[in-house]
Amino acid sequence: APAARLALYGPPAGPTITLAHAVATGALGEIAQDVSLTVWRNPDELRAGLTSGTIDLSVVPAQAAATLYNRGMGVRLVNVMTNGLLYVIAPEQMLNGFADLAGKRLAVPFPNDTPDFIVRALLARHGIADSVELTPAGSPMEAAQLLMTGRIDAAVLSEPVATVIGIRGREAGRTLARAINLQEEWGRVTGLGPVVPQAGLAVTKRFSEDHGDLIAPLQALLVNATAQMIGAPAEAAEHASGPLEQPASVLAQSIPHCNLTATPASEARPALEAMFSLMAESDPAIIGGRLPDDGFYAL
């Protein structure tokens, strides 16, 4: 039976575009009469929403979902919605490969988040961890500012910020490019293909108890929506422009780089576990102490 309401949440990043598109096209009408999408900006909102029960499903970083699951919050992962949207942005021609980062100043916003771990792991694999000067930046905004003035050489940014900074750079006469696709780099390391299963749709305990039967149809709809969107990015960008508070033109340019997908969680399990294992190397607590067990994978 369809649910009375479906409260979707998502961060202001690529995967939420899929949700926005699905909501705007009315595709989710079979699942619930009243569908809403809210963009959260910081994890506290997520925490508050999960506790107070205002959230049914939310796009969350896979690592956060694993932690929540392992801490007994009953949150389960439905699918993976992006295969990674991380890029090293640098002035054109400066970097020709990951190894070129040696001796450069690199900013990584989002400390303690997935990009941070991925970058550190890659630096270690390439044996250049000591020669790269990691400059902390509080937010993508600061990283972009530093990059555009040349105070740092490169920054790790995710979509759609990576697209925005390209546009801003062009306006200012600086050509900044996606110099390194971190997904590909990561794929080389894991041997599982260019996939960083950074974020996915997580379902709350309450929703999976009350409407567990709706999860599979929802996934099917999202697969559909993803395919549609990749075919017509301009339309999807139009739909997502409001919730994400970004101009549609920017989003349209960004979508192709977002590696959007709707891979069922269990299908992505090897990629996820590869990523989780890497994170757990430094401190298992970051994923809640252990790899999440079967129960974590809702589909």
């Binding site: 506290d44 909102e45 107070s52 937010s139 555009m148 910020v161 925005v164 900074i165 508070e245 920017v250």
Partner: protein
């Protein structure tokens, strides 16, 4: 009448020196701009133009008014609560001893430790912003109120008592005025804090207003736009300050000015 005119004159004069301060600030800003370029620090001129541009759209006025309303309501709450508790603590040492540690905690705990609680209670609403302001701005008002009471001239209290004033009348006619002398500078601080915290809380709690606009412009890496919003919020603050705190203060400080006649060396 002449007296009021004179005060108006002095106000205008202080306006001039305010202008001088703004000019100074703009000069430093411009220098920073020239040193670091548009991406770090857009020029004051460009920012001001952007701000004026923002004001052309009525929906931006709404955002500004939303933030101003939140900041002011938080400020009033913090002012009233802080002053009330402070005054009580000033008169009752027991209350003081009990509330000092709580004050320290309120002061020293970073907002991220409890902001999630306010978000649960109030959602992304005015109340979350107000609560954040309350915690940030109340201590300074509280301390000022308590100090005002504790450092009051007890001789005047005794005088009022002799002439038949009960505790309440005594406080209203003698204590309050002395408390105000401490309270007003603190209220000016609290007002500034309120605006800043309102913007930050909106930004963190995703609650619209200027903070929301700031978050949006930042997401778009629109540095000039972000600074323009900050500028608008500061202008709103200045309007609030000159509209609210200063006039009261000038009225209360009249006798103190009388104590500084021109001929007397300072």
């Amino acid at each position: 009448m002449g007296d009021r005119l004179g005060r108006l004159g002095r106000f205008a004069w202080s306006g001039w020196s305010g202008l001088a301060a703004v000019a100074l600030l703009a000069a430093v800003w411009q220098a920073g701009h020239e040193a670091y370029g548009d991406f770090i620090l857009p020029s004051p001129m460009a920012t001001a133009l952007a701000a004026i541009g923002l004001l052309a759209a009525p929906e931006n006025w709404t955002l500004l008014l939303v933030t101003m309303r939140r900041a002011l309501s938080g400020f009033f709450l913090a002012g009233i609560l802080g002053a009330l508790l402070g005054v009580i603590a000033g008169y009752a040492p027991a209350v003081m001893r009990l509330s000092r540690p709580l004050l320290t905690v309120a002061l020293g705990v970073p907002p991220i430790a409890w902001i999630v609680l306010t978000m649960i209670w109030f959602g992304a609403s005015d109340a979350t912003v107000a609560a954040t302001i309350l915690v940030s701005a109340t201590p300074v008002v509280f301390v000022a109120g308590a100090e005002g009471v504790m450092t009051r001239d007890r001789g005047l209290d005794a005088m009022a008592e002799v002439f038949g004033a009960g505790p309440i009348r005594r406080f209203l006619s003698v204590g309050l005025r002395q408390v105000c002398a401490h309270l007003l500078p603190a209220l000016a601080l609290a007002l500034g804090t309120s605006f800043k915290v309102a913007v930050m809380a909106e930004l963190l709690a995703n609650a619209g207003g200027v903070g929301g606009a700031l978050a949006r412009t930042r997401a778009m890496l629109d540095i000039t736009g972000a600074l323009a919003w900050v500028m608008l919020s500061v202008v709103a603050l200045v309007v609030g300050e000159y509209g609210l705190v200063r006039p009261v203060r000038a009225e209360l400080e009249r006798w103190r000015e009388a104590a500084q006649p021109w001929g007397v060396k300072r």
